[in-house]
């Protein structure tokens, strides 16, 4: 495919009509909560989009994000767009290995300097100069810093890349950090989740390819279109929360009736993601729909947010021990202060002596 080819020509060659393309764009816009009136313009612009070079770096990760992406179904446009992008390096998906793979990365970095899109999944260990994770003898830290220099923008896919994720959970032995912790001079889009919803990954990438710009982000770098509302607010069980109807165990009457899972540790109230609307597995369901609470996987430091089965309002540390200690120490301090009070009272009493009019007269005479 020629460098200056565009998506519209590819569609024509594949025999995909512009009507079909418009339909895909409509579905894409609907899933991204974009105004439907923007769709025709979006389709026109996307048809003119040039082939985009993409470098995908995987660091401390489990490949779950790539698994999720490759299972993305909606809106099928991804098959078009991913045929259209030039994925120049992705060590799970590429055929090349060893020196050839690394050479492909370096070549793409040099050829498309300042123009390629860098996608990162996995956190970056920085303890001991980053020796905890290396690829072809190069630390993740070094590889990210090198690749970030020539990138047009960076997409941090998955909670590990976006916020440190599991590797960063206390006590964080490898000193894992997120992409934003290391790079501050490039636009960065975070697509957190463990893994993120496949359609969300493709939706954000399609948005980037269409508009050539990053979508509107929230305070922790997530696209508002997908992370604008909490799971709790869009949950179909929300009405039970409001009515005070809760499942107390996973097999009681409440659980069977589909009542709210708040008491069973659902982190829906503190989690921003679109699982409740976009859903998983070809829109089959999402965790709460299959009877399990949300674990809050798209939030920074979610591994340290308390047990999966502990309610949001439960304290994260033991309070009983400190409480008992405080009461004992307080009692001891109270006794000590009372003893001091008594002592000062006694010493005042001891200094007390009787004064007669004679002694006063004598005092005056002096």
């Amino acid at each position: 495919m020629a460098e200056n080819d565009n998506l519209g020509n590819l569609l024509a060659r594949r025999g995909i009509s512009r009507r079909t393309f418009l339909k895909f764009c409509t579905a894409l816009a609907s899933s991204m909560a974009l105004s439907p009136s923007m769709v025709p313009a979006m389709a026109e612009s996307l048809a003119k989009a040039k082939r985009q070079s993409v470098i995908w770096l995987s660091f401390q990760e489990c490949t779950g994000c790539t698994e999720s992406l490759t299972r993305s179904s909606q809106p099928s446009i991804e098959s078009l767009i991913f045929d259209f992008i030039s994925l120049d390096y992705h060590h799970t998906l590429q055929a090349a290995s060893g020196f050839q793979a690394e050479e492909a990365r370096e070549q793409a970095m040099a050829e498309h300097k300042g123009k390629y899109l860098l996608i990162v999944d996995g956190s970056i260990p920085v303890a001991e100069n980053g020796v905890y994770s290396t690829i072809a003898g190069m630390t993740n830290l070094q590889m990210l810093e090198d690749a970030a220099k020539g990138a047009m923008a960076i997409v941090a896919v998955g909670t590990c890349a976006a916020y440190g994720g599991l590797p960063k959970a206390r006590p964080n032995p490898t000193g894992a950090v997120s992409v934003t912790d290391l790079i501050d001079d490039k636009p960065i889009i975070n697509i957190p989740g463990c893994p993120p919803i496949g359609e969300v990954i493709t939706g954000v990438l399609a948005h980037f390819l269409t508009f050539g710009a990053i979508p509107e982000l929230d305070t922790v770098g997530r696209p508002k279109a997908f992370y604008g509302e909490t799971i709790h607010d869009r949950c179909y069980r929300r009405t039970f929360y409001d009515q005070g109807l809760f499942a107390e165990t996973f097999d009681d009457e409440g659980a069977r009736k589909g009542w709210c899972l708040y008491k069973l540790g659902c982190k829906g109230p503190v989690t921003y993601n679109s699982c409740a609307t976009t859903k998983w597995n070809q829109e089959t369901s999402f965790p709460i729909e299959s009877g399990h609470g949300c674990i809050g996987c798209s939030q920074p430091d979610f591994w340290d947010m308390g047990g999966i089965y502990e309610a949001v309002s439960e304290p994260l540390t033991d309070l009983r021990g400190p409480a008992v200690t405080a009461v004992v120490a307080g009692a001891a301090a109270g006794v000590a202060v009372a003893a001091m009070n008594k002592q000062s009272k006694q010493s005042a009493k001891d200094r007390h002596f009787k004064v007669s009019s004679e002694t006063l007269d004598e005092e005056l005479k002096k």
């Binding site: 519209g8 024509a12 995909i16 009509s17 512009r18 009507r19 079909t20 418009l22 339909k23 895909f24 409509t26 579905a27 816009a29 609907s30 909560a33 439907p36 009136s37 769709v39 025709p40 048809a47 179904s73 909606q74 809106p75 099928s76 869009r234 009405t239 039970f240 409001d242 009515q243 069977r256 009736k257 589909g258 609307t277 070809q282 829109e283 089959t284």
Partner: protein, 130 residues
């Protein structure tokens, strides 16, 4: 094998479900879109799929709008169903993929839904083929 939809699921009907009436909101928006079309010729779209419509709301909206004179099915990598509602100029458009899953569902206001129009690029390709 038992299919997913064959497994009985106990769902409590809550008062809230019936109460939250989005239909009036949709009808009101349609009114505004029709006004805009009549005054400036500007077409408009309402995304039904992303609206928090309950099943009751959805059915009642469909009933309120009714069926008009035209209906069409477009085969665009999965069927797209289009029909004019009883209100002239208000079109109900449902996009499905190959697995028959709804990708998008919209109400379009205008003379003809955009999806029915042929694109110039496609027409150009057609001319080349002759």
């Amino acid at each position: 094998m038992t299919r997913l939809q064959d497994i009985p699921v106990n769902t409590e009907i809550t008062g809230l479900d019936a109460e939250c009436n989005m239909v009036d909101a949709v009808l009101h928006e349609l009114k505004q879109l029709l006004d805009a079309y009549l005054s400036s010729g500007e077409t408009g779209v309402i995304d039904i799929k992303s609206m928090p419509l309950s099943a009751t709301d959805y059915d009642s909206l469909k009933q309120r709008l009714g069926n008009g004179e035209i209906s069409a099915t477009a085969s665009l990598a999965g069927d797209t169903e289009i029909y004019e509602t009883a209100l002239s100029g208000v079109w109900w458009v449902v996009h499905r993929n190959i697995d028959d899953r709804v990708l998008a569902e919209q109400l379009e206001v205008g003379r003809i839904p955009a999806i029915l129009c042929a694109h110039d690029d496609d027409i150009r390709v057609a001319r080349e083929r002759l």
